[in-house]
């Protein structure tokens, strides 16, 4: 029999174990979020001009997808190669709203509509579409558009994921399904040029609820809104991971079969987290479109979807905060490459992915963690060991 050291009230041993699990959180786990806040809310705005801040906002919008991928891939074990689909849903819904607003106001729009004799978005008029499609109509309203950006991808993702996971389609097969989905979405958008803007996407909008999006002041505000929502997503993600649900997710990732015999329905949990990640991506897409002024099929297809996975892999697939760094770093690298050597970008990102997978399976976050534990190990090996032992025997 083990010695019964717990002489106090019942449950004290378990409580002590929980407390020490919490205490053992590393420096990174405790402070990485604060550091990220300081960096993007204080350091970047103070040092960057509006143009660079706009670029940062663009990468941060993509960061939403990476945060979602950490949740579903790092903790849920679901590798989605289709997060671009949800990014695209948010992006296009926002673009439809902005397009309708700018079509119905502004002098150039009026000139256009008087020329074509209709009040349609410009690309529809060019494609001889004579009537606004019915599914565009609700996007006249901001009170439809904003909730739809959150709810539509959630419902779609949940149904898609639950239908597959309930039938125990998972792993690589699910990845291929998501991959196909992103290909389908970009093909449909390009093919239905008259109502989707086709390969050019939807662009040329200036105002949001009458606010001119092109001024420096508004751009700064948008940057802070993006940061705020992104940090909120990270916190929501952290809340989920620290809850009982988060532990169940890890259990599902490692031993899905066993989880059923703990009395859980894994399909429901996986569909839930997949829906959350879809919502994050969609919000990121909407923010991207407001700030970059564009919704494009090139952002929903396979390549950007895979890039989003690489953001998460580089940042560290177990680190919500790391995902944000991954998105910003890889995004910046992409900008640098496409300004200087466009044709090498794809090779570079391929090599980057291989290097990360082979040598840094937990990305930058894992690298930092390893460096840190090595430092603390060389400094106080015996001390920590003693502390652990006395902690266990207390």
């Amino acid at each position: 029999m083990s010695r019964n050291q717990v002489s106090g009230s019942p449950g004290t041993g378990a409580r002590a174990a929980l407390a020490s699990l919490r205490q053992n959180r590393s420096f990174l786990e405790k402070y990485s979020f604060v550091i990220l806040c300081v960096l993007i809310l204080v350091a970047l705005p103070l040092t960057f001009d509006t143009f660079r801040l706009g670029l940062a906002a663009k990468f941060l919008s993509l960061g939403f997808c990476a945060v979602g991928i950490v949740l579903i891939w790092g903790y849920g074990g679901i590798l989605s190669l289709g997060q671009g689909v949800f990014f695209g849903l948010g992006s296009y819904m926002m673009a439809m709203f902005l397009k309708l607003e700018s079509t119905n106001s502004g002098s150039s729009a009026q000139a256009l509509s008087s020329f074509f004799g209709s009040n349609l978005p410009d690309f529809m008029a060019w494609n001889s579409v004579e009537e606004l499609p019915w599914w565009w109509e609700p996007f006249h309203s901001v009170w439809f558009t904003l909730p739809a950006i959150v709810l539509l991808p959630a419902v779609f993702a949940f149904i898609l994921a639950y239908a597959n996971f309930r039938k125990r389609v998972g792993g690589v097969y699910f990845s291929i399904i998501t991959l196909a989905l992103s290909a389908i979405m970009s093909i449909v958008i390009i093919g239905q040029q008259g109502v989707t803007g086709g390969v050019n996407g939807i662009n040329d909008f200036r105002t949001f609820l009458g606010i001119d999006l092109d001024t420096d002041e508004v751009k700064r505000y948008m940057y802070f809104i993006t940061c705020g929502l992104l940090l909120a997503s990270v916190l929501i993600g952290r809340f989920i991971l620290r809850s009982r649900l988060g532990k169940v997710l890890v259990a599902i990732r490692d031993r899905e079969d066993r989880v059923r015999f703990s009395g859980y329905d894994p399909a429901l949990f996986k569909a839930f987290i997949f829906a959350i990640a879809a919502v994050f991506s969609s919000i990121g897409g909407a923010l991207f479109t407001i700030q970059v002024g564009l919704a494009s099929p090139s952002l929903v297809s396979i390549v950007p979807s895979v890039e989003m996975v690489i953001y998460a892999a580089v940042g560290g697939r177990l680190s919500l905060v790391g995902a944000v760094y991954g998105a910003v770093l890889v995004g910046s690298a992409k900008t640098f490459f496409s300004e200087n050597f466009v044709e090498y970008w794809m090779y570079f990102i391929g090599v980057l992915f291989i290097v990360v997978v082979m040598f840094l399976p937990d990305g930058l976050a894992g690298l930092l963690q390893r460096l840190q534990s090595r430092k603390s190990a060389s400094g106080s090996t015996t001390e920590t060991r003693l502390a652990n032992e006395s902690g266990g025997a207390k």
Binding site: N4, G11, A251, R258, F261
Partner: protein, 245 residues
């Protein structure tokens, strides 16, 4: 005769024409500790797989507490009060021992319930109690992956105890354990068999003798003999196929 908790009747399953379990009848009473023995390939694990829902039978019925399990899937059967321990210890290696037990606590197993689950006093009490029972009171903070093989076996039994099942299905619970650990496990199983029924698959005859109320011998998917350890061991057919080799 006391009340039956499990009634398996005419149970058959075939994999590509091979009948792993063939027209088997198998009954377990309340508060009973039953051992199932038999040579490799006798269908012991398959029998447990079908009871807990992992494998669907091709024919026959399984009733638990007089309810047919045919239409239920794994997690529903688990929630009815059937706990299953697998042959290779299946614990959540990346979670701590504490978290392994916490997950198994049988409340709030829906999505939203588990998202907003607040740890309650009752759960801490229960975790402490179970951890003491399975000799892991000192290692609650450790990752399950760091435990020894025997400790993992205990942890998996502990996870089942957290669920408070009325029927425990244990597949080779002492495989890979030292002699001392086997003895401890025998004490553990005898202790937890009060108020619940347990079915144990085991090869170790000394261990079976320590715990079994009644022994069932399977051979080629069929029931060969059933009775006390002594009765079974003196049965000529059993000696032929199994004990005598």
């Amino acid at each position: 005769m006391s009340e039956l908790i499990l009634q398996v009747e005419d149970l058959t399953v075939s994999f590509d024409g091979f009948k792993a379990v063939d027209s088997l009848n198998f009954y377990v009473e309340k508060d009973e500790l039953r051992c199932v023995i038999g040579p490799n390939g006798a269908g012991k694990t398959t029998l447990l797989d079908m009871i807990c829902g992992k494998t669907k039978p091709t024919g026959g019925t399984i009733k638990f507490k007089h309810r047919d399990l045919a239409e239920m899937i794994e997690y529903q059967i688990t929630r009815m009060g059937v706990g299953r321990k697998f042959q290779n210890p299946s614990v959540y290696e990346d979670l701590s021992v504490f978290e392994n037990l916490e997950i198994s606590y049988p409340r709030k197993r829906g999505v939203l319930g588990s998202l907003f689950f607040r740890r309650e006093d009752e759960m801490f009490r229960k975790i402490d109690e179970v951890a003491q029972q399975i000799f892991l009171g000192d290692v609650l903070r450790h990752k399950a992956g760091q435990l020894s093989h025997g400790q993992k076996q205990w942890l998996e039994i502990g996870m089942l105890l957290m669920q408070d099942p009325e029927l425990l299905l244990l597949d080779e619970p002492v495989a890979g354990m030292s002699a001392k650990e086997r003895e401890q496990t025998a004490v553990l199983l005898n202790g937890i068999s009060k108020g619940r029924s347990i079915v144990v698959i085991e090869h170790d005859m000394a261990f079976v003798r320590m715990i079994a109320h009644k022994v069932t011998v399977l051979h080629q998917g069929k029931l060969l003999a059933e009775g006390s350890m002594d009765e079974v061991q003196s049965d000529e057919r059993v000696k032929d196929v199994y004990l005598g080799h």
